[in-house]
């Protein structure tokens, strides 16, 4: 089994573009289709944007897992920001705003195969999302 991990600091909007381009490249290396690589890049963009908007800075880890049985990517977005009060509501879309353009975590949940959110108000948030190559 092969694992490859990249840790990126996210603090500026420029970092968002860099993170999603790295993510897209990584997804293509793992063997995702162009369509799925775009989805993964979009999820990364949203997670990185949340860090910049709410937490000012954090880290985004991109991990590629290449396994005989299962290959995929795991995205981990970590910050020491304000935290999310109601994680379930955020995941289900309760925090979306104006005409489907306030994506948030519910959008990431729709794109990825699995998502896990650990958050404590005043302490920070860690979002882990994964997508597997479907053979």
């Amino acid at each position: 089994m092969q694992n490859h991990r990249t840790d990126l600091t996210v603090a500026t909007v420029g970092d968002i573009v860099a993170a999603r381009q790295r993510g897209r490249d990584l997804a293509l290396e793992v063997g995702f289709s162009s369509t799925d690589a775009t989805l993964i890049a979009t999820a990364i963009s949203e997670l990185a944007r949340n860090i910049v908007l709410y937490a000012k800075s954090g880290t985004l880890s991109l991990e590629a897992t290449i396994d005989g049985n299962r290959s995929g990517v795991v995205i981990t977005a970590r910050d020491k920001g304000p935290g999310i009060r109601d994680v379930q509501r955020a995941l289900l879309g309760g925090y979306t705003t104006s005409g489907g353009l306030g994506l948030g975590l519910s959008g990431v949940r729709r794109i990825m195969d699995g998502i896990d959110v650990q958050s404590r108000v005043g302490k920070g948030t860690t979002v882990t999302a994964r997508k597997w190559l479907h053979r």
């Binding site: 909007v13 573009v17 963009s45 949203e46 005409g99 489907g100 353009l101 994506l103 959008g107 794109i111």
Partner: protein, 141 residues
């Protein structure tokens, strides 16, 4: 590019990221969003187009997103705001060249560009704007 297209001279007074060119073609302004646009690139383009519609008395704006690799909530919101602001100024915006993967990811995400006209490519975008003008001139709208 079609004949007779002139690059717009930078007439802004404040310094602005000038990475996106805006071309004037007849009554329309045409711009192309680059690959991997920063938030400043998109916000800057939005502000410039809204302003230049007035300077050139344009009736339509085409934003070509062929090179846009990812549409996230910020870019979708900025394009929508651009189209709405331009409509308030009396002109119409058409977003063209949305790539298949980007369109699909938008559907997956539930991103809607509501109230924003789209067309397949530059040619279709111009045809749409021409058509709209004809309908308006003939009093049909």
């Amino acid at each position: 590019m079609a004949k007779g297209v002139n690059p717009s001279s930078g007439t802004t007074r404040q310094p602005m990221p000038a990475s996106v060119s805006i071309f004037k073609q007849r009554h329309y302004l045409i711009s192309r969003v680059p690959a991997g646009p920063s938030d400043e690139d998109l916000a800057g383009l939005r502000d410039r187009l809204v302003r230049e519609v007035g300077q050139h008395r344009s009736m339509g704006v085409i934003v070509d997103v062929t090179d846009l690799d990812v549409m996230d909530s910020f870019s979708a919101r900025t394009l929508r705001d651009l189209a709405l602001a331009i409509r308030l100024r009396g002109a119409e915006t058409v977003i063209v060249g949305l790539q298949p993967e980007v369109a699909f990811s938008m559907v997956q995400l539930g991103l809607r560009l509501e109230g924003v006209q789209t067309a397949l490519d530059l040619e279709e975008g111009i045809a749409y704007l021409d058509n709209k003008r004809v309908r308006q001139d003939s009093g049909a709208e």
